[in-house]
């Protein structure tokens, strides 16, 4: 059993791509993140699980600098992105790809323009080459001949795939997945899980997913961390988390309506 990882700011972790140290964030006066410590190793897929409204997406947005913490740090390869300029942050972000919960495709653009936007804006590549890359990335996510289609004409599953193609278009080192299977039927959800696994195996990227879909979490993760009460209360492999004796984790992963979470036991250190 591996308990929640606690790190000091100075602690060196050679294999870590991302280190989150004592992260605090309040929204509308309510603490959402309450001292999150987490390490994500290079090349691994970490899934953050937790109830809806627990702050999983907020944590993900801190990792890519979309939100600033009240205190604490987020290190990306040793660079604390909470203390760098917007210009430097933009440079760091170019190493990321992100799949949003609702795909967040640009309505006014075609699929080709959506997937190729990063390449067109940040590189001097010829248009033919960009089109070829867009086609290749769409093929990687199992989509063909949709380049000229607008997002409104796509199904939910196809939107997620296009979002995924956009996330990997710039060959990122780190990909963030915000609820990758939410809103999809089980078959489409499994197809997205397979894509995430395929991308991990073929591109060797570091991945962080947030979800409350345990089927997805078990399938895609090397490690699963549970966010509860604004802190990571447990982290381990899918096998370890299945067998852990923490009642909060057990209630969540087994989807039980009664238990310490719903009984108002708000002591995240329990276990």
């Amino acid at each position: 059993m591996i308990q929640a990882t606690t790190l000091n700011a100075g602690q060196a972790v050679a294999e870590s791509a991302i280190r989150i140290v004592n992260l605090h964030k309040r929204l509308n006066g309510k603490p959402v993140l309450n001292g999150v410590d987490l390490v994500i190793n290079r090349g691994e897929t970490l899934t953050i699980i937790g109830r809806s409204g627990e702050g999983k997406s907020v944590l993900l947005k801190h990792i890519i600098g979309l939100m600033k913490p009240d205190s604490g740090s987020v290190y990306i390869d040793g660079i604390d992105i909470t203390r760098i300029s917007n210009k430097e942050l933009a440079e760091v972000r170019r190493r990321f790809g992100m799949l949003f919960q609702g795909a967040a495709l640009f309505d006014s653009m075609t699929v080709d323009e959506n997937v190729g936007i990063g390449l067109r804006e940040h590189t001097d590549m010829a248009e033919e080459k960009i089109r070829a890359i867009v086609k290749e990335k769409l093929a990687q996510v199992g989509l063909f001949n949709v380049e000229t289609v607008k997002p409104a004409e796509l199904s939910g599953g196809m939107k997620k795939r296009v979002g995924l193609a956009r996330a990997i278009a710039m060959d990122p080192e780190i990909v963030l997945y915000d609820e990758p299977t939410t809103g999809l039927d089980p078959i489409n959800a499994d197809a997205i899980n397979n894509l995430i696994l395929h991308l991990k195996n073929s591109l060797k990227i570091t991945s962080i997913a947030v979800t409350h879909d345990m089927v997805s979490a078990y399938k895609i993760s090397d490690r699963i961390a549970m966010l509860y009460g604004g802190r990571i209360i447990y982290s381990g492999t899918p096998e370890e988390i299945r067998n852990c004796d923490n009642p909060i984790v057990q209630q969540f992963i087994n989807g039980q309506a009664r238990g310490p979470i719903t009984d108002g036991d708000n002591n995240p250190g329990n276990g």
């Binding site: 979309l66 949003f100 967040a104 309505d107 990063g118 804006e121």
Partner: protein, 258 residues
């Protein structure tokens, strides 16, 4: 009681200062990115099409009737006091200095300001603005600056069309309903015509274009809470843009013509 009044007043004042500061900061950032607009001119030209060309029919329609009613009203007030040969002068001055720029701006604020706030608001609540940031693209440079440049260019252009069509509307009414010849009316328009009036009106519309675009972007970017939030932002954008247009109209008129 007094303590509570002071507290409420203080909170309102702080809220106003916060809003004014945030709006000013966004405006400064949007203006600062104008030199980069040519790198992505397609974004600006698309906005010009939406803001200018697509607004033209509505602007022309309202301008015809604005000119027509100003002729009817002026003729009513002149009757028995001022010779009708000055009707063109009064209508021309009113249209070029005031009615053309202000009514065009108010119509465009209702149509385009609302559209900007709704579009950016929807992008905000569907995380498209966040998606731009994760792609290392600055939403201000990518979304706000093209809209600002488009507003600054297209409002004066629309105002020129509006002025022309409003005077035509007034001419039509004068000929067919007030019984003045086209020659008399147009002579009246030319009588005290001053280029300063025309450029003053166009300068106003330049500022109005900036107000419509920046207010629309400001309320769009700070939208939250789904469809209800988008609706609220749209309403707020139109109301604030209309109020700022009328306030700035007075300030610019006082400086230029006071």
């Amino acid at each position: 009681m007094i303590k509570q009044v002071v507290r409420v007043f203080g909170e309102k004042a702080m809220f106003f200062l916060h809003e004014a500061g945030s709006y000013s900061l966004l405006t400064i950032r949007t203006i600062a990115a104008i030199p980069l607009v040519f790198r992505r001119f397609r974004l600006t030209s698309e906005q010009m099409l939406m803001m200018g060309v697509a607004s033209l029919p509505l602007v022309l329609f309202t301008s015809v009737f604005t000119g027509a009613v100003s002729a009817v009203q002026a003729a009513y007030q002149f009757r028995g006091y001022v010779p009708m040969r000055y009707l063109g002068t009064a209508v021309g001055k009113a249209v070029i200095i005031e009615l053309g720029p202000v009514l065009t701006a108010l119509v465009v604020a209702g149509r385009v300001g609302a559209a900007i706030a709704a579009e950016l608001g929807t992008m905000k609540v569907t995380e498209q603005v966040d998606a731009l940031e994760t792609l290392a693209l600055d939403p201000v440079k990518y979304l706000a600056t093209p809209r600002l440049v488009s507003g600054l260019v297209m409002l004066p252009v629309l105002t020129i069309f509006s002025n022309f069509v409003a005077i035509l509307g007034a001419l039509f009414v004068s000929i067919f309903f007030i019984d003045i010849t086209a020659y008399t009316f147009l002579n009246g328009v030319k009588l005290f015509f001053d280029l300063k009036d025309l450029f003053g009106g166009l300068l106003k519309s330049f500022f109005f274009g900036g107000i419509i675009a920046t207010v629309g972007c400001y309320h769009g970017f700070r939208t939250y809470g789904g469809a209800e939030g988008v609706g609220l932002s749209t309403t707020r954008a139109v109301v604030l843009a209309s109020v700022l247009i009328l306030i700035s109209d007075y300030i610019i008129a006082s400086i230029l013509f006071g």
